[in-house]
């Protein structure tokens, strides 16, 4: 009998620290598989951000740096400018990327910095116990929007993929989800495309992944998947927002 599916070499043996059913784990696996399949693990340098995925530096089986909250794109820029031929990526949450790190992500994109960003949008700050993120939906209850997010007070959720796609330096942006197998497969394809854009030196690439936070959403993991599909996806449409990739076989 042949192995149909096994754990990728792109991950270390350290067990994930995520809550049960948190899709950070799936996304980690996809990134690791993409790197393994593209054969870039030995020249990859990843940047972990501050959020639940802060320990990503223990999980990805490649060189890693841990960046200050929101600054992963700046750290990745520093690395990439030293090693332009290595594959550099960041793994960032929505609080990290869309709140405190707004300037860094916008300017990395505008510079066309030749890095790949994995952007995990779970509509809240998981690590700190479930506060509002810039991506929190209107009406969504969080620790800091106990009466539900109100547009008049907190403004509107930001669609980062759309916003960043207005910038010329961007080579590839796609929004994906991992709430079922079909979307997991598509997400992996997207992540591979993003790395390919970097390998082809096209410029900045980012994959936004709609993810769950069952713990802070107060749902079972299965309910959480459904919430992504029913509540998040309508506001955050999936799809390719920018693509300058050369066709590859």
């Amino acid at each position: 009998m042949a192995v149909v599916f096994e754990k990728t070499k792109g991950l270390t043996d350290v067990p994930f620290s995520y809550c049960p059913g948190c899709t950070h784990g799936i996304i980690h696996r996809l990134v690791a598989e993409a790197m393994e399949e593209l054969g870039v693990l030995d020249k990859a340098i990843g940047v972990a951000s501050v959020g639940c995925s802060v320990f990503a530096y223990e999980f990805f089986n490649c060189d890693m740096q841990q960046a200050a909250h929101g600054r992963a794109p700046a750290v990745a820029t520093g690395i990439k400018r030293v090693h332009p031929d290595k594959v550099v990526f960041t793994y960032q949450g929505d609080g990290d990327l869309a709140a405190i790190g707004t300037a860094e992500i916008v300017h990395a994109a505008a510079r066309g910095e030749n890095i790949t960003v994995i952007f995990v949008n779970n509509a809240n700050y998981g690590m700190t116990g479930g506060q509002m993120a810039p991506t929190t939906l209107i009406g969504q209850e969080t620790l800091t929007t106990p009466y539900g997010r109100k547009a008049e007070v907190n403004g509107y959720p930001i669609r980062m993929s759309e916003m960043l796609s207005t910038l010329e330096g961007v080579a590839y942006i796609e929004r994906t989800a991992v709430y079922d197998v079909k979307h997991v497969i598509q997400a992996k394809k997207a992540i591979k495309n993003a790395f390919l854009a970097q390998i082809q030196k096209k410029g900045f690439s980012m994959i936004e992944v709609l993810s769950t936070c069952p713990t802070n959403w107060g749902m079972t993991p299965v309910e959480a998947l459904k919430w992504v599909k029913d509540q998040m996806e309508p506001y955050y449409p999936l799809g390719v927002y920018k693509n300058t990739l050369e066709e590859v076989k």
Binding site: S17, C19, P20, C52, M127, T215
Partner: protein, 184 residues
């Protein structure tokens, strides 16, 4: 009088609540009290504990190194906290989930099969209340009646339906100690 108590177990076993109830009851009885929880990501499916002080005097260090009592709800907590009990102090062990005996000989050990009793009561979630009943009966840190007064305050609105079973669990735990002592 100063009681310094550590409650420890898995996250989800309700050890923070146990501590909170004692703290609240202590306050109701006019004592000086302090409750300090563990916090942070290790709580995520990891272990939890809290330090509780109930004292006639001002509460000094909120962090307890020399505990008058320690309550352990699982094995890792026994391993970690057995040494914290002062000589002559009390150690409460949830034997349902702890598969070894304490090694200390200079302390009083209370063995409480809390999960089993809780499951007899029909709700595994009240294992902590069983243990708490035993603890209160054995230590008399606070009166059981004050604990009953503290319960609704700590649980807050929406948990009224749980009161009966919580009280029953407390009683069962207390009974266990009464029987233990009378048979000693």
């Amino acid at each position: 009088m100063e009681e310094r108590i550590i409650f420890a177990g898995f996250g989800g076993q309700g050890v923070l609540t146990m501590g909170l109830i004692i703290t609240y009851a202590g306050m109701l009885e006019g004592k000086n009290v302090s409750w300090t929880p563990s916090y942070g990501p290790e709580m995520r499916g990891g272990t939890a504990n809290c330090n509780v002080t109930v004292s006639d005097d001002e509460v000094g260090s909120p962090v307890i190194i020399e505990a008058t009592s320690v309550v352990v709800m699982n094995r890792p907590s026994l391993d970690k906290y057995e040494s914290y009990v002062i000589p002559g102090g009390k150690l409460f062990v949830n034997t349902s989930l702890v598969d070894r005996k304490p090694q200390r000989k200079d302390i009083e050990v209370y063995e409480v099969p809390a999960n089993e009793i809780a499951s007899e009561l029909g709700n595994l979630k009240v294992a902590n209340m069983v243990m708490l009943g035993a603890f209160v009966e054995a230590t008399k840190v606070v009166k059981m009646e004050t604990v009953l007064k503290a319960l609704p305050e700590v649980f807050g609105k929406g948990k009224e339906h749980m009161m009966a079973i919580n009280e029953e669990a407390l009683e069962k735990g207390a009974e266990l100690i009464i029987n233990m002592v009378s048979t000693k």
